[in-house]
């Protein structure tokens, strides 16, 4: 099972949101990283055929998704970034309605809804109207609807936004457990969410793919690019202007900075054992 993007391009007038993207997604979790405006949501909208493409193809197992139409949508689970919901419906009715739209038989839908409400920790509030839910609760309902019908392709745009750490871990682990036999695309700003569960990470910048690799290869690739060094508070501004600065922290009464880049200041020390995906993000995608 594979999902191929071939020369995929989307232009809004003169602005190119996605520029001849070529990539193949296979089974497992692909984390998509990119700053705002990098083209992540455009790609998601093209994958779900919510906007018309300008050029290129999206093939699911060799057939264009436009040709597959409903057949592709019946294996698709999508959670959009913007929370769309009917505030007058309860979580249970909303999920049931979405199950209907996904053409899931009623009996199967009831079982799946039960299970997903448990997983998303919404069982006790299932009869509460969505209008009365907090942002995090709505996020969980939307995630639950995306997972209805055992979809083969799951597209999750910021699934853990607004969740508390405990819920995030719970949901993250659940998504991780789903990865076998599915293509899961997970776009997020929270780097730690994809760091531990992604099989591969796609990095996007200005509508281009700037890198695709496994998380450990990506962190290895920046081993010689990250340094920590002490810094006088009055020098901080100058360092920030000259280098890509990650964390600024206090250690033993001194201010330290974590600097990422090809050219690093003299002094300080490399941290090959403590590299994170944030360093990768900053190195590849930081301005």
């Amino acid at each position: 099972m594979k999902l191929e993007l071939i020369n995929l391009t989307k232009r809004y007038g003169n602005f190119t949101a996605l520029d001849h993207v070529n990539i193949t997604f296979t089974e497992g979790i692909t984390g998509i990283l990119g700053a705002n405006g990098a083209g992540k949501s455009t790609m998601m909208n093209l994958l779900t055929d919510n906007i018309p493409r300008t050029e290129g193809q999206i093939l699911f197992d060799g057939t264009d998704i436009l040709k597959l139409g409903r057949d592709f949508r019946s294996v698709l689970g999508y959670m959009p970034q913007q929370q769309g919901y009917y505030e007058h419906l309860t979580a249970q009715t909303f999920l049931s309605y979405m199950a209907d739209l996904k053409a899931i038989p009623k009996k199967q839908a009831r079982e799946e809804i039960e299970k997903l409400l448990e997983i998303t920790n919404l069982s006790d509030v299932r009869h509460k109207k969505l209008g009365g839910y907090s942002g995090g609760m709505r996020q969980r309902v939307l995630l639950a609807q995306a997972l209805l019908g055992d979809p083969k392709v799951v597209i999750l745009d910021e699934p853990t936004a607004g969740l508390d750490p405990k819920e995030r871990i719970r949901i993250r682990n659940f998504i991780s457990s789903l990865s076998r036999g599915r293509i899961i695309l997970l776009a997020t700003h929270i780097v730690s969410d994809i760091e531990s569960i992604s099989d591969q990470i796609l990095m996007m910048k200005h509508g281009h793919v700037v890198g695709v690799d496994t998380p450990w290869n990506l962190t290895d690739s920046v081993a010689e690019k990250v340094k920590e060094l002490p810094c006088a508070p009055e020098e901080l501004k100058a360092i920030q202007a000259q280098y890509k600065v990650g964390n600024v922290f206090q250690r033993q009464g001194q201010t330290w900075v974590r600097v990422v880049g090809d050219e690093l200041p003299t002094g300080g020390q490399y941290v090959p054992d403590h590299l994170t995906l944030e360093d990768v993000y900053l190195y590849y995608l930081g301005e």
């Binding site: 049931s96 739209l101 053409a103």
Partner: protein
């Protein structure tokens, strides 16, 4: 200022206000027309006839607008005269006019004069009798106090009699004068403005609570100016809205009233000169009354606004505010409307929110209620209590605004609501996709309210029009038509011949009686009876001749077009579908269009407003299937609206008239002589209602598809209304002929396309083609846009 700016920038509120003002003004003018500008329209030649199963007064129509102008002319002529002189002048005129009616020489001008004169006479009669009325109150006091039941002056009854007499004694010697009082009358008897004002106040108060809905209550409450200062400003805003609301709504009514009823020149008169205010025991002029009335209206509006604010602000959970408001208003309205005046709890009737909403009743009715054994006037209670109540409520509102903690509320109804939702969930989860679409239309898009309003509107529609009889010959013709109804055969003519023979015999008997009478062989009474019979026989003979002529015409027409001639009583059809019923049909069609527009305009926009579009489109059935369900919903909604509006019309036809001859060819009806098909009446009716259904369905499909062009339900309703309703309204009510090709009212109404003989059929065909073509094209466009159904895509 920021708070005012925030509320002022609430587009929904401002749009609603503008809409309310327009609707209020439009309905005010319409109401005056419906009420014939307060004129007594009865002519002396009016008669009661059995129309269907009910007796109805029929007379020649009189244009109320022209009659009111004539009334003003007559008013100018008698204005300078004393009341007795004016009365005798009008009496002379009326006698002259009555003679014209008796001699059958009356003209349309005479009708206008007659209506104007008799209205003025009634007015003069009231003014002249007012002194007697006051004296009567004093006499009643003396008389009643002699009865043992009332002579205890320490009881409520005794005190009430004395108080009433004392208050009206102050009016002794008040000089009432003749003038045009229609504007003040109209202002006092148009309750819609009161309810519109209530809506404006409710909207304003709800806008105060927006911070709760938006989750900003804690932020506002924690800010330095978010408590007392904000509350004071909101109180000031509520007062300003009360002032502006009263001036805009009731001020508009008064201004429109002055323009309709001949200006504001008679405002210096004693207020009792206006008949509606005859029971107001206050010495003042109409101007003085209007000043006092508007001030009290503003204070009452402020009071109502404060009360609503207090009630809604006191409810912690914003979800229940509307529920609480509706509950309180329903209880208050029930007490105000249904509690009998004699009830021991009648204080609740008059010390009631709706006493302040329907303020006019305090001035047009004189009533004292029992307050601890003392009679207190309902007007006095309302006026005296108003200022202290406003102050009390304002301070309570300020306290609630300052002291109510955003995070401290207990959701008392929450648990019950959760359980209730559990039950509804059980039902909703078992509904198919179509059922959920219906649920969304009824509850999310508030279709249930529109349905209720439609039912209310239909219950107020009139489906039958009077078909006047201008002479006894016409009456006889109608009777013979009913008697001889059926296929026109030789037997019909034979039957007519037989009747004619009987009538001839009566005439012959009369001739014999005349001779006998001349010879002195017949008494006066017997001769008079013969004369009367002969006169009736002549009339009936003329009526029968008209029926015979109609039969001959129908035979020729039938031979020409190949249908069986049939004699039919056309009254039921003329009454329901004829040209005189066009206004009824226009209103019914407009109501159907309005209901359909409101039911369907939010259908697609609701998905966008709730941000669901992308999610729906990513599901297997969220495109073509969902759209097809929405089309099906359109068919259902159309059928429901059509059934409610036009089904009631058909029911009216069938229940009010006993119709025989459903199998008669439709072209036998004079109004359908040009109808292109040879079909029976029942088939014609099926075609008529089918065509209306189809036209409505096309409008429904257009409303559905137009809905997808809008982001919000409100704008979708307005936009769809502009496309589907505005051209029809402008064409129907303002006569803008250039909009006729866009007035979808015509195909929905259908009959104007059939009654207008000038190319009517081709216009009906054009309309059908245009509507079907447009809705089909739009549907295909949407279906293609949403993705082809799987079967088609597989073929492709």
């Amino acid at each position: 200022m920021q708070e005012l700016r925030r509320i002022g920038s609430n587009r929904r509120l401002i749009l609603g206000l503008v809409l309310i003002l327009l609707v209020n003004g439009f309905l005010f003018v319409r109401e005056q027309r419906v009420q014939d500008y307060g004129l007594n329209m009865e002519l002396p030649n009016a008669s009661m006839v059995l129309l269907g199963d009910t007796f109805t007064t029929v007379q020649e129509p009189v244009d109320p607008g022209a009659a009111y102008q004539r009334y003003l002319n007559w008013l100018d002529r008698v204005r300078g005269l004393s009341l007795p002189d004016a009365a005798s002048m009008l009496e002379r005129e009326k006698t002259d006019l009555a003679a014209k009616f008796a001699g059958d020489t009356d003209t349309e001008e005479d009708h206008l004069d007659y209506v104007a004169v008799q209205t003025l006479q009634a007015q003069i009669q009231y003014l002249a009798g007012y002194g007697d009325r006051l004296a009567n109150i004093q006499r009643n006091k003396e008389n009643l106090l002699t009865f043992s039941l009332f002579n205890d002056t320490d009881s409520f009854a005794g005190r009430n009699i004395i108080k009433t007499a004392e208050e009206f004694e102050a009016l002794q010697g008040v000089a009432l004068t003749l003038g045009a009082g229609g504007a003040v009358d109209a202002l006092l008897t148009f309750p819609l403005s009161d309810y519109c004002l209530l809506l404006v106040l409710l909207g304003t108060v709800l806008s105060f609570l927006e911070e709760r809905k938006a989750g900003l209550w804690s932020v506002v409450h924690a800010s330095p100016r978010g408590r007392l200062r904000l509350a004071v400003r909101r109180t000031a805003i509520l007062f300003s809205v009360s002032v502006c609301g009263v001036l805009l709504l009731h001020g508009t009514d008064l201004a429109l009233g002055f323009s309709l009823y001949g200006g504001a020149q008679d405002l210096h008169r004693a207020v009792q000169s206006v008949e509606a205010l005859g029971m107001l025991p206050v010495r003042t002029t109409v101007t003085g009354f209007l000043g006092q009335y508007f001030l009290l209206r503003i204070a009452a509006a402020f009071f109502v606004g404060l009360l609503l604010w207090l009630l809604l602000a006191a409810v912690h959970n914003v979800k229940y505010t509307v529920l609480v408001a509706a509950g309180v208003l329903a209880i208050e309205y029930s007490l105000y409307t249904f509690l009998p005046v004699q009830s021991a709890f009648n204080v609740l009737k008059y010390f009631n929110l709706f006493s302040y909403i329907s303020l006019s009743a305090l001035y047009t009715n004189y009533l004292n209620i029992d307050l601890f054994g003392y009679p207190v006037g309902i007007r006095n209670i309302a006026e005296t209590a108003l200022v202290p109540l406003c102050l009390l409520l304002a301070s309570l509102c300020l306290t609630v605004q300052c002291r109510k903690k955003p995070a401290a509320g207990r959701d008392l109804l929450g648990r019950a609501a959760y359980r209730f939702n559990g039950i509804t969930d059980w039902v909703l989860c078992r509904l198919p996709l179509m059922g959920m679409e219906l649920h969304k239309t009824l509850w999310i898009q508030k279709g249930i309210v529109i349905t209720a309003l439609l039912a209310y509107g239909v219950s107020h529609l009139s489906y039958t029009a009077n078909i006047p009889l201008f002479s006894s010959v016409e009456e006889a013709e109608r009777q013979y038509t009913a008697t001889l109804a059926g296929p026109i055969t030789e037997d019909t003519f034979a039957e007519m011949d037989a009747i004619q023979d009987q009538l001839d015999q009566v005439l012959q008997d009369y001739e014999d009686a005349k001779t006998a009478y001349a010879d002195g062989q017949l008494s006066d009474a017997a001769y008079n009876l013969q004369t009367y019979n002969a006169s009736a026989a002549r009339t009936q003979s003329e009526g029968l001749a008209a029926v015979r002529s109609r039969c001959v015409d129908l035979q020729m027409l039938g031979a020409q077009h190949g249908f069986t001639p049939w004699l039919l009583d056309e009254t039921p059809f003329l009454s329901v579908y004829g040209s005189r019923a066009q206004v009824n049909q226009q209103q019914a069609a407009l109501l159907a269009l309005l209901a359909l527009t409101l039911l369907l305009a939010g259908s697609m926009a609701c998905e966008r407003q709730s941000g669901m579009t992308t999610l729906l489109r990513s599901t297997a059935q969220g495109r073509g299937t969902l759209l097809r369900r929405k089309f099906l919903l359109t068919v259902l909604a159309t059928t429901f609206v059509w059934g409610t509006v036009f089904g009631t019309e058909l029911y009216t036809l069938l229940s009010h008239f006993s119709i025989s001859g459903w199998g008669a060819p439709a072209r036998n009806l004079s109004m359908l002589e040009e109808f292109p098909l040879n079909c029976s009446l029942s088939v014609w009716l099926a075609l008529l209602y089918g065509y209306r259904w189809l036209s409505l369905l096309c409008c429904g499909v257009l409303a559905l598809l137009l809905s997808s062009c809008f982001q919000r339900m409100e704008t979708a309703c307005i936009g769809t209304g502009i496309v589907l309703l505005l051209p029809s309204l402008l064409y129907a009510y303002l006569g803008v002929q250039v909009l006729r090709p866009l007035a979808v009212l015509l195909p929905v109404q259908t009959m104007p396309l059939l009654l207008d003989h000038n190319g009517a059929v081709s216009e009906a065909v054009t309309w059908t083609a245009a509507l079907l073509g447009l809705s089909a094209a739009c549907s295909v466009w949407r279906l293609v846009g949403e993705g082809l159904p799987r079967s088609l895509s597989e073929t492709a």
